[in-house]
Symmetry: C2
Subunit: 523 residues, 2 copies
C-alpha cells in the first residue's frame, strides 16, 4: 500500500484543474435529486443533488479514491493493521459492531471475541439493573444512571442517549433516565447530584486510561456525595476502563467492563463506553439494534463504486470543498430535536481526528486538513446563524439530516399541517434556497445561491438508523484522513495543555506568564 | 457622519501593510499580561496579552476607530437615529438597560419611559407568580415556567437562565424552574410538556411579530395539552409581543408585555423577552442586577481610548484577525459550566448580525465580514475539538471567559487542589500553550503556537457580571458592523426560506426540486 500526501497525487492535480467549473449551478431538479441518491444502512439515504457536482468531478474523485487506495486502507484497518501509526496501535471500533475482516489477534487473544464477551457481560449487568435484581446500597431499585466521563466518554454517549430517549420512552423500553457529568467545573457534578435521589442512582465511571484528571476528580466528588448520603459508593458505581488502567480489577466497584487501546475515545460509543449506560437506560436489545445499524453501514463502506458508497462519496466531496474550493467550515444541521447534541459529537469526531498539520509520518502537509465543524438543530438554526450561511462572505457546506416521522408520534395539525410536516417543509425550502438563491434588485434581499448541501434522510430515527448515522460519519472522517494521508486516530494536540496544567498546579511552573494567568484566575 | 466601506479607508491600507508583523510572537510574560488588561463592568476584565498585538498595531486600530467614527455612530444609535437602515428602524436595546443618550421619542412617546414601565409591569407580575398570589386554573401555585419562542426569543433567555440557575438556587432566589420549547419538531413540545405538572406551569409565549410559524404551532400544541389536562389555557399563558402584533391586547392571556420594532430579536434578552421568565424564576431584583451590569458596560463602551474600551478593542482586534490575517472562525470558550449555552447565543448574535455580503446601502462589499462562531465549555472542549485549534491547518482566534469562584460553592479537594483550581489551571495552561506552542523534534508533538486568544475574567458569574458579558459581545458586534459598514440589525437572509416553506406547505410550489425534496422527507 502507498501512503502519499494529497498534493503528490495525479488526481489532485486534475481536481485543481476542474476548479473553474465550481461556480456552475442551476440544474437542481427532480430528476437530478432522484439520480443523486445513495442507499445507506438502517433505512437511510444520502442525497448529494444540491452539491452541484457533475459527472466530470465524480470521475476524478473516483480516481482519487483509487489512487489513495481508500478501500484497501479501510480493509487493512479492519484486518488489524497498525493504522494509528504514532501510537503504534490498531484501530478496531468497527470490530465492536461485527467482524468484517480477518480475525484480529493480539497477545494471543481474539479481539472480536473479547469485545463480544464484554458486550455480553454488560448486557447481563444492564438487565439486572433494569429488572431491579441489582439495587443500590439501601435496596432501592436504580432509576437513574449518571455517566462520569469527558470527551469521547461523554459527547458520543450523551448524543446517543438524547437521540433515543423519546424513541425508547414512547415504546416502553426506557427504564432508567440518564444524566452526564463531564466538566471539572465543580458546579457540574454539584448540580447534577443535587438534582437526583442518590439512593436510586447508579454511576458509570468511564476513563480508558484511568488517569483522566477531570473524571477522577468527579469520581471522588460523587463518592463523597454518596458517603454523605449514607450510601456505600461501591454499590453505586460501575467502571468502564482498560484492563491495564489503575481503575481495573477493583472490587470496590459494582462491576467493571473493559475496552482496550485500539478503541479511540471519540470512536468508543459502540463499546462499553456508550453501551453500559444505553443498555441500562433503553435495554441491551436497543443497543444491539444500534450496533447492527452501524455494522451494516460499515459493510456498505467497503463498496468501491463511489456513487454507491455514501461515506466514501461524502468524504470525497468534502475534500473537494475543503481543498479545492477552500471552504473553511462545515455545518451539521439535523432537523430532529433528538439530535440536538449530535453536532457536538461530530465536532469532536471530525476536528480531533483530522485537525492535524502533519501526515501519518509526522511530516508537515502543505494543504488544508479537517474543517471547523459546528451545528444546531433546524429549525432553531434557521432563526440563528443561517443568515451568515445564506448571505455571508464565506461559503459553508451544509450537512442536513432529517426523518419523515417524529419519534413520539404526538403531533397537532395547525393551519392545515402537523408540526412534523412544517419541520420538513422548512428543510426542503432551505436546501433549495441555499442551492438556487434568489435574484432581487435590492441587493440586501439578493441570495447568491450556490451554497452546497447534502441530505441524509430516513423514515424515523430509530436505533438502527442512529447506528447507521454514527458509522457514516466515522467512516467519512476515516476516508478523509486517508485522502489527506493523516493519522486520524491520535490526538497529540491535547498533550501540551495537560503538561502545563500540571505545572500550574504544582505551584512552580517556571513560566511567569503561566503564573500570572493563574493569579488572574484566582489561583 | 461618514459611512465608508472598510477597504476605502486609509487606516485599512495601513493595517494591510502591517501584516508581515503578524507572525511576531514570544514576549508573553507577566509584565505584558499586566499591561494588556482593560477593566469591564460587573467586576470583569478583558485581557488581550495573548493576542501578540504590539503598539504599532494598536495605534493603527485606534486610527481606524477614529476614521470609521465608531463612537460617534454608537452615540447616534443611542440617540435614536435610524441605524437599521434597510428596515428604517431605530436600534434601542441599550435603552432597555438605562438612558445614555437623548430621550428617544417615537409617535410622541418617550421610549425609555415605555421600556421602564413595561419592566415595572412584568416585575410586579413576576412577584405575584413567585408569591403564589397568582396561580393556575386549579389554584395551585406555579412552580415551572416554560418559554415558547425561537431564535432570539429562545437562545439568549435560555443561555441566561442556565447561567444564573445555580447562582440563584444557592442563594435562595430561585422560585420557579424554567424550560424552553423552540423547535417546530413536535418531539420538542411533546417531551417538554410530558415532563411537567401542567397545573403548576406558566408558559411565556414570545413572538415580537406574532406570526412566527414555529412559535404559533407550539402555542397551539401547548394549549391543546392544557385543555386535555382539564386546565384553562388562558390562566396558564402570558404573552410577550409587540403592540401591533395579532397576539397583542388579547384578554385570553394572563397578561401581555410589550416590546417594539426597535428591539431586534437577538438583542432582546434585556427586554420582556428575557425579563419575564428570568424575573419569575430568579426574581425581579436578580434581573435588575443583570440590567445594571449591562448598562455599566454600555457606558464604558462610550470611551474613545481603545485601550480602555474592552468592547471596542475586542472588535478591532477581531477585524485585524478576520480581514488582515484572514482567520475564518472564532471560538467562544467559557470555563464555566453555567455558560454552557452562551456560545450558542453568541453564535446567533454574531453570525446573524454581521454575516452579510452587502453594506448598509445594499452594495456588495469586497472583504470578509462576520466569522463563523462556535464553542463549548472548557474543560469539555479540551477533550474534543482543541486538537484542531492547537495543530490544525487553520488558525482560530479564541475567546476565553472564566471566574475565580464557582457558583454553588460546593467543591472537593482531590490530590491537593479543589476542582475550581483545576478548572482554572487548565485554562491558564491552554492560553500559554496556544500562544507559545512547544518545539519538538517529533513534528507530531510540535505545537506551532502563535494562536491568539483573549480572556474575560472575574470573581464570580453573578447577574451583574453576566449583564456585562452580554453587553460586551453585543457592543463588540455593533462596533464590528460599523467597521465593516454593515447594517448589523436586520436579517434579510432568513426570508427566502420562509417564503419557500409556505410554497411547500401550500402543495403547489411550482418548483419540482422543492416538491421532490418534500417527497423524500415524507410530505
Amino acid at each position: 500500500m502507498r501512503y502519499t500526501d494529497l498534493d503528490k497525487t495525479e488526481s489532485y492535480k486534475k481536481l485543481l484543474s476542474l476548479k473553474e467549473n465550481a461556480a456552475a449551478r442551476g440544474g437542481l431538479d427532480a430528476a437530478r435529486i432522484r439520480s443523486c441518491s445513495v442507499p445507506m444502512a438502517g433505512g437511510l439515504s444520502y442525497n448529494w443533488a444540491a452539491k452541484a457536482a457533475g459527472s466530470g468531478l465524480i470521475a476524478v474523485l473516483a480516481e482519487l479514491a483509487g489512487e489513495q487506495e481508500l478501500i484497501d486502507k479501510y480493509r487493512a484497518l479492519l484486518d488489524g493493521e497498525t493504522m494509528n501509526t504514532g501510537e503504534g496501535r490498531k484501530v478496531l471500533h468497527h470490530l465492536l459492531r461485527g467482524q468484517l475482516g480477518k480475525a484480529v489477534l493480539h497477545n494471543g487473544r481474539d479481539l472480536g471475541e473479547f469485545y463480544r464477551s464484554e458486550r455480553e457481560r454488560f448486557s447481563a449487568f444492564a438487565e439486572k439493573v433494569r429488572s431491579g435484581k441489582l439495587s443500590g446500597s439501601t435496596g432501592k431499585a436504580f432509576r437513574h444512571a449518571v455517566q462520569i466521563g469527558i470527551g469521547g466518554s461523554d459527547l458520543g454517549p450523551r448524543a446517543l442517549y438524547l437521540a433515543l430517549d423519546n424513541w425508547a420512552a414512547s415504546r416502553g423500553r426506557k427504564k432508567l433516565s440518564a444524566a452526564f457529568i463531564s466538566n471539572v467545573d465543580p458546579d457540574d457534578p454539584s448540580a447534577v447530584t443535587a438534582g437526583l435521589n442518590l439512593e436510586e442512582t447508579v454511576f458509570v465511571l468511564v476513563s480508558k486510561s484511568g488517569v483522566t484528571q477531570e473524571t477522577l476528580a468527579n469520581e471522588l466528588f460523587v463518592k463523597n456525595k454518596l458517603k454523605n448520603a449514607g450510601l456505600d459508593p461501591g454499590r453505586h458505581i460501575v467502571a468502564v476502563t482498560s484492563e491495564t488502567s489503575p481503575l481495573a480489577h477493583n472490587p470496590a466497584y459494582l462491576d467493571s467492563f473493559y475496552i482496550d487501546d485500539f478503541i479511540g475515545g471519540r470512536y468508543s460509543s459502540s463499546s462499553a463506553v456508550g453501551g453500559v449506560i444505553l443498555s441500562m437506560a433503553f435495554g441491551p436489545e436497543t443497543f444491539g439494534e444500534f450496533l447492527s445499524g452501524a455494522h451494516e453501514a460499515d459493510k456498505l463502506a467497503l463498496e468501491r463504486d463511489i456513487t454507491k458508497n455514501a461515506a466514501l462519496l461524502d468524504a470525497l466531496l468534502g475534500v473537494w470543498e475543503r481543498n479545492v474550493l477552500a471552504y473553511p467550515a462545515t455545518a451539521a444541521l439535523p432537523y430532529s430535536q433528538a439530535l440536538s447534541r449530535f453536532p457536538a459529537h461530530l465536532q469532536q469526531l471530525d476536528m480531533e481526528s483530522n485537525g492535524k498539520r502533519v501526515n501519518r509520518n509526522g511530516e508537515p502537509v502543505a494543504y488544508a486538513t479537517g474543517p471547523v465543524v459546528f451545528g444546531e438543530p433546524g429549525t432553531n438554526g434557521q432563526h440563528s446563524f443561517y443568515q451568515l450561511l445564506h448571505q455571508g462572505t464565506d461559503i459553508v457546506p451544509l450537512q442536513f439530516v432529517a426523518f419523515a416521522e417524529s419519534q413520539r408520534n404526538d403531533d397537532l395539525e395547525v393551519e392545515g399541517s402537523p408540526s412534523q410536516t412544517k419541520l420538513n417543509a422548512n428543510l426542503a425550502a432551505q436546501i433549495v434556497a441555499f442551492a438556487k438563491g434568489k435574484d432581487d434588485p435590492n441587493r440586501n434581499k439578493y441570495f447568491p445561491g450556490g451554497r452546497p448541501s447534502s441530505l441524509i434522510h430516513g423514515k424515523q430515527l430509530d436505533p438502527a438508523a442512529l447506528g447507521s448515522l454514527l458509522a457514516h460519519f466515522e467512516n467519512k472522517v476515516m476516508f478523509q484522513g486517508f485522502v489527506w494521508n493523516l493519522n486520524s486516530f491520535d490526538q497529540e494536540g491535547v498533550q501540551l495543555g495537560k503538561i502545563l496544567t500540571k505545572k500550574v498546579l504544582s505551584g512552580a511552573s517556571g513560566d511567569d506568564a503561566l503564573d500570572e494567568y493563574g493569579k488572574l484566575l484566582g489561583l
